[in-house]
Symmetry: C2
């Protein structure tokens, strides 16, 4: 049976050994997608950031911390997968350097920056789904084509931004949901194709939404 | 019996509805201290940031998200406590404003900041333990004196920095431990008094360290 890759959970970008930048993401949608995919007969590989959620025992699970690591492991696993679903919320900015020692408040108070302000210069992290999009095999490929599904969590202009995202990452479908979905157990989502058509609307538990989405992926292969 | 306050876990400073800055902290030391304090006969109130750890059922637990909230709730609870232990790792920087909408990668790509850099201007959050230190009652107070114990997690110059911290926050004891303690289940800690004397050295499980520290607090009242 075909194998698919699911990215799940947040990633962390450390500023020093203690402080980090991250995203609110529980990994519950990734876990629900893994369960729905196993039910549908897929083999499942998951690459996940630090989460407390339990993934299905039958899935292969690879743990990562940073976005760079998630991209590397995802690229490694994607080769023998039929498709990938990006349910992770990778942290998209990172500091230019990671301090090896914890920044100390005493350092700031003693230093020139005595008004307690800190300017943090951040750069973009690699885009995990765009990296998969760049190596995705077309349907004409003799080894078989591959598909990609991204998630868009936007608080405004959701369809416009979601379609930009779909095209930038070379995805086949994009799931649009609002910020209410982040940590909750229920969810509502619209599934759009590259032309902006609403191919499905799903609501209910995260597992309900996951089953609806997995049913759509079966039409892609 | 006397009541004590324990701060525990990380806090989060959101940049927008999705992204936040935080500290690595599991809340396990706070939970161990609560258990040790209950065993010693203290009543226990805990103010905690978002954690997965379970606190003892007999403790009063107040949930917060940001450092400002932790400071406000801690100040509220501290009045009728004999002492407080700061085992939390409050996030010490926050953005000047929290965006109400998620920052979008499309905004950056379209905008002037097209090289993907982001300058984040941060300011210090309120210092929770220093706020308690500022209202702490002296031993001569007719309502009874109060004590404060801080934690210092430093990766270098640990004693010097820890003592600076103790004096800045007006604490009676400070617990010094290394970064290995952050998420692990075992711990090693030195307990220093305001003159820099090593009053105790504790190692073993977090509960062992917690019991040793609680025994020291009993001498403060």
């Amino acid at each position: 049976m075909a194998k698919i890759l699911i990215t799940s959970g947040p990633t962390r970008q450390y500023l020093d050994p203690i402080r980090y930048l991250t995203n609110a993401s529980s990994g519950r949608m990734g876990a629900a997608l893994a369960q729905a995919a196993l039910e549908a007969g897929y083999e499942v590989a998951i690459v996940t950031g630090p989460v407390e959620v339990e993934y299905p025992k039958d899935a292969i699970v690879k743990q990562v911390v940073s976005t760079e690591q998630m991209k590397d492991v995802a690229l490694e696993l994607f080769g023998d997968c039929e498709g990938a679903i990006g349910a992770a919320a990778p942290c998209d900015y990172q500091p230019f350097s990671i301090l090896t020692e914890k920044m100390s408040k005493e350092d700031f108070i003693r230093g020139e920056d005595s008004n307690g302000e800190l300017l943090l210069r951040l750069r973009e992290t690699p885009d995990v789904m765009a990296a998969l999009g760049a190596v995705k095999r077309e349907a004409s490929d003799p080894r078989g084509g591959q598909w990609l599904v991204a998630f868009a969590l936007e608080t405004s202009d959701s369809h416009v931004k979601a379609l930009q995202k779909l095209h930038r990452k070379r995805c086949d479908l994009i799931v649009v949901n609002g910020p209410n979905s982040i940590n909750g157990s229920t969810s509502a989502a619209e599934i759009l194709d590259p032309t902006g058509n609403l191919v499905a609307y799903a609501c209910g538990s995260k597992l309900d939404v996951a089953r609806r989405l997995i049913a759509e992926t079966l039409k892609l292969s």
